[in-house]
């Protein structure tokens, strides 16, 4: 079941109605658990067992750590549990294939078959969420819960189960253990945030997929301008896809009285690599900061070690994204950039590029250049192989020695320009449909306008959410 489906449009109101009809927190948790398992099982019910088993181990490990006897062993168990699942389902086949390829380079024909394992959807997200639970209990930042159902519901919470935001246990789990409050304003804002997310997905991302896919399917057949357009388009495709998903997840959670962390904060208005990562996939970058970068020594180390830590953290983040050398290169690329240019732009998350209505020229130029820097990274992210990525980048170096074909930008300008302008206008708000008007008529008109846009311009071809593969 995906957020941009009729099934979900029926599922969500049904769960909402049942949820608030159950005034006891325990019953609500049980309903959320069942709903979440139905939601997940709609993809592939076979992996429900894996989700349940992983949750059981982490639940037991949390209690074991807190008991004080062999806490390291219990922590090791939760690490083996979560990283083991990731290793087997996500990386084993890639490791085997890479090994065979490496041997072949040395002239050795290694006859090792891959297992052909199917990647369970959302595995990278829920394993990281439960890892945070184990770490936090071990670090005594959180007391473990004894409520099994609440814990299972925390791991499987359907709005953010398959593609985040990756919530910290300290932030989300307590919400499962106390009565939820219904905040009408938050619920209305949640509905509009969901609408905005849906619009980002079906109007921006899915339409741009039609520009990106043919070019990246055979980059060697396309000239530098087509590759540039496809790469710019992909930058917004993945933004619309992932930010769109996050907005729907956060908005849907609000309907149930839950608050999830912000995951995107207008990343393409960033002025430096570090700021970009303050604004892009915030839940993952802060996860890596809290559970990898800081334990490695973080900012307390000398300049060289600190830079290495940054680089290493991004490298691991790249590998987290997918079992492919392109993601390793992507992580290394960003790691090197952030390590070399660690200075953050002194702006608040809520104020990208300052307060002014019109950006300063220098900021605008810097943001544009930063966008190009991000696009170089997206080439690695999108290309099927490293060879393809190198081919795209080398072709792009001939951009200014090749004549621009007429109508080069025709396919993307009608999508990119409105979204950039719209997001600039809303950049101080948590999402692009944060209403400035509070009158019922204003809300009705806004809702109608967005629905009409989705109906008239949403992409009809099904384009799966990109981050589901991670």
């Amino acid at each position: 079941m995906t957020f941009d489906s009729v099934t979900f449009a029926l599922f969500l109101p049904l769960v909402y109605a049942l949820y608030w009809a159950l005034p006891s927190v325990r019953a609500q948790n049980l309903l959320l658990l069942v709903a979440s398992y139905v939601f997940y099982g709609a993809w592939d019910w076979r992996f429900l067992g894996l989700l349940f088993l992983a949750s059981c181990v982490d639940f037991a490990a949390g209690l074991g750590i807190a008991r004080g006897r062999y806490p390291r062993a219990w922590l090791a168990l939760t690490l083996v549990n979560n990283l083991g699942i990731l290793l087997v389902f996500k990386y084993l086949d890639w490791g085997i294939a890479s090994f065979v390829e490496l041997m072949a380079r040395f002239g050795v024909q290694a006859d090792v078959a891959t297992l052909g394992l199917v990647l369970p959807v959302g595995i990278s997200f829920y394993t990281f969420q439960t890892l945070s639970y184990g770490f936090d209990v071990y670090r005594k930042e959180l007391t473990p819960t004894r409520d099994f159902v609440a814990f299972l519901a925390f791991v499987a919470f359907f709005p953010q189960l398959v593609a985040g935001p990756i919530e910290r246990a300290t932030a989300l789990l307590p919400q499962f253990l106390r009565p939820r409050t219904f905040d009408r304003r938050m619920a209305i804002d949640g509905v509009f945030q969901m609408l905005y997310g849906l619009a980002l997905k079906v109007i921006v991302s899915d339409r741009l997929a039609a520009v990106v896919n043919p070019v990246y399917a055979a980059p060697e057949d396309h000239g530098p301008w087509a590759l540039l357009v496809a790469t710019w388009a992909f930058a917004f495709q993945i933004y619309g896809d992932f930010a769109g998903y996050s907005h729907v997840a956060i908005g849907a959670s609000r309907l149930f009285g839950f608050g999830l962390m912000r995951n995107f904060a207008y990343p393409y208005f960033s002025l430096s690599p570090a700021e970009f990562w303050d604004r892009w996939h915030i839940s993952l970058s802060t996860w890596f900061r809290d559970y990898l970068y800081i334990p490695l020594g973080g900012n307390r180390m000398g300049p060289i070690r600190k830079r290495f830590n940054v680089f290493f953290t991004f490298l691991v983040s790249g590998i987290w994204h997918g079992a492919n050398w392109t993601f390793v290169a992507w992580g290394a690329y960003w790691g090197a950039l952030v390590a070399l240019f660690p200075r953050r732009t002194p702006t608040l998350l809520e104020r990208p590029m300052g307060k002014g209505r019109v950006p300063r020229l220098s900021d605008a130029v810097l943001a544009f250049l930063m966008f190009q820097v991000a696009c170089i990274g997206w080439v690695f992210f999108r290309a099927e192989t490293l060879t393809d990525a190198v081919e795209v980048l080398s072709s792009l170096t001939h951009l200014f020695t090749t004549t621009m074909p007429p109508g080069t930008f025709d396919a993307i300008v009608p999508i990119l320009l409105p979204i950039v302008v719209w997001e600039w206008w809303h950049r101080h708000a948590p999402h692009g449909l944060t209403l400035r008007t509070t009158t019922p008529l204003g809300r009705f008109a806004t809702g109608l306008a967005v629905l009409l846009l989705i109906a008239a311009w949403g992409e009809v071809r099904t384009v799966p959410f990109i981050y589901f593969q991670f």
Binding site: P23, E141, T145, D147, L177, T286, L349
Partner: protein, 389 residues
């Protein structure tokens, strides 16, 4: 935004406890009820906007991506006209045909009145029903509409071969925004995925005989092996049509025809039954007959005159490669269909009294037409007379 470290651990209750405050439950219920009301209002608003789009298709239609507004404009022109809906059969003539007129033009000549063609390759009942419903809303409505019904459209082979289906487009003609919204929200309109289509079973008389991919051998081209040729006839005409979602579309089409204030002539498209008989075994051929009988049964529920031309055309008058059977006709086949449809139109009272009188005179005259063969002068068989669309 996030804490770096905790001075105090976050203490969780051991178990979830407590009850949601009554005001929260009440607030959620009121919000839910209000949301339902707003959604209903939005639904009505969208419905009104849809009506506006359909009222001004040329002006507003292009603003809805993929909305077939050109077709709507074309349908607008059917007001007061005699109209021929159809698929590629009505919009093609055979290569080297002695008479290159299309089927609607031949009909126009037969009845001595203009016939407007509204056609699109691979359309079938679902699309034609939507066109018909649209045309029926016109003032004045069409004088009459002719709609072919092709047995092959009920075969699983038609689901994605050609590579598109029209259920979503057909729905957009009735509800441009709602239908599109459903498509955006991954509603598949019964359309199988590529893999699902390839793996979809071909069932003949209740027995699964293989998959579409294997039996229709889509990539085998026009000159396939004998085995593929045989299996193609089997898939396209002998598979159980009871399994086809288009059967209910056909029933909808008949219902739309019955509701129309003008005659709607439904006819079963000629299929090359002799070659089908040659290529499939007796039991499978019996299933072809059963399929046709099923279509005839639905056809009989029409309140207008109908024509069953499924077995009316000889193999030599079809224009299809032996290994890739379809229903395109050579000129003699088209004339035969045109004549039958003219008769049905006459029966429906569409043709004026002058035309009826002329027909009576023609009936008294000695028969001489229809003897020309492919090499003969087609004008002898079917005089080119009236202006056509």
């Amino acid at each position: 935004m996030h804490r770096e470290a905790h001075d105090e651990p976050v203490r969780l209750g051991t178990t979830a406890a407590g009850r949601t405050a009554k005001e929260d439950v009440r607030g959620a219920a009121i919000f839910g009820a209000q949301a339902l009301g707003v959604v209903s209002l939005l639904a009505v608003a969208i419905l009104l906007i849809e009506r506006l789009i359909l009222a001004y298709p040329a002006r507003l239609g292009p603003s809805v991506s993929g909305f077939p507004w050109e077709r709507i404009v074309e349908l607008e022109r059917t007001s007061g006209e005699l109209v021929f809906f159809g698929d590629s059969v009505v919009q093609t003539a055979a290569l080297g045909d002695a008479d290159a007129r299309l089927l609607p033009d031949m009909l126009a000549a037969e009845i001595d009145a203009p016939v407007l063609r509204v056609s699109q390759a691979a359309t079938s009942c679902d699309m034609h029903a939507a066109w018909l419903r649209y045309a029926a809303r016109l003032t004045p409505p069409p004088r009459a509409v002719i709609v072919p019904v092709n047995l092959r459209a009920f075969s699983p082979h038609w689901e994605r071969n050609p590579a598109w289906v029209f259920a979503d487009t057909a729905a957009m003609i009735d509800h441009p925004l709602y239908a599109r919204m459903l498509s955006v929200l991954e509603w598949d309109w019964g359309r199988p995925t590529d893999e699902g289509f390839a793996a979809s079973p071909v069932v003949v008389a209740g027995v699964e005989v293989g998959t579409v991919a294997a039996l229709d051998a889509i990539t085998a081209g026009y000159l396939p092996s004998d085995e593929v040729r045989r299996s193609r006839y089997l898939v396209r005409y002998a598979s159980d049509i009871e399994r086809s979602r288009r059967l209910s579309a056909f029933e909808d089409l008949v219902a739309a025809a019955n509701a129309a204030r003008f005659p709607v002539i439904l006819y079963l498209t000629p299929i090359d039954v002799d070659r089908v008989r040659e290529h499939v075994d007796a039991a499978s051929y019996a299933n072809v007959e059963a399929n046709l009988e099923r279509l005839r049964a639905i056809l009989r529920t029409s309140r207008w005159p109908t024509a069953d031309l499924s077995e009316a055309v000889a193999p030599a008058d079809f224009d299809h490669p032996l290994g890739d059977p379809h229903e395109h006709l050579k000129w003699r086949g088209r004339i035969l269909v045109a004549e039958a449809l003219a008769e049905a139109l006459g029966e429906a009272g569409v043709l004026g009294p002058e035309r009826a009188a002329a027909e009576l005179l023609e009936a008294d005259a000695p028969p001489d037409a229809g003897s020309a063969d492919d090499a003969g002068n087609p004008a002898d068989a079917s005089p080119l007379e009236a202006g056509t669309h």
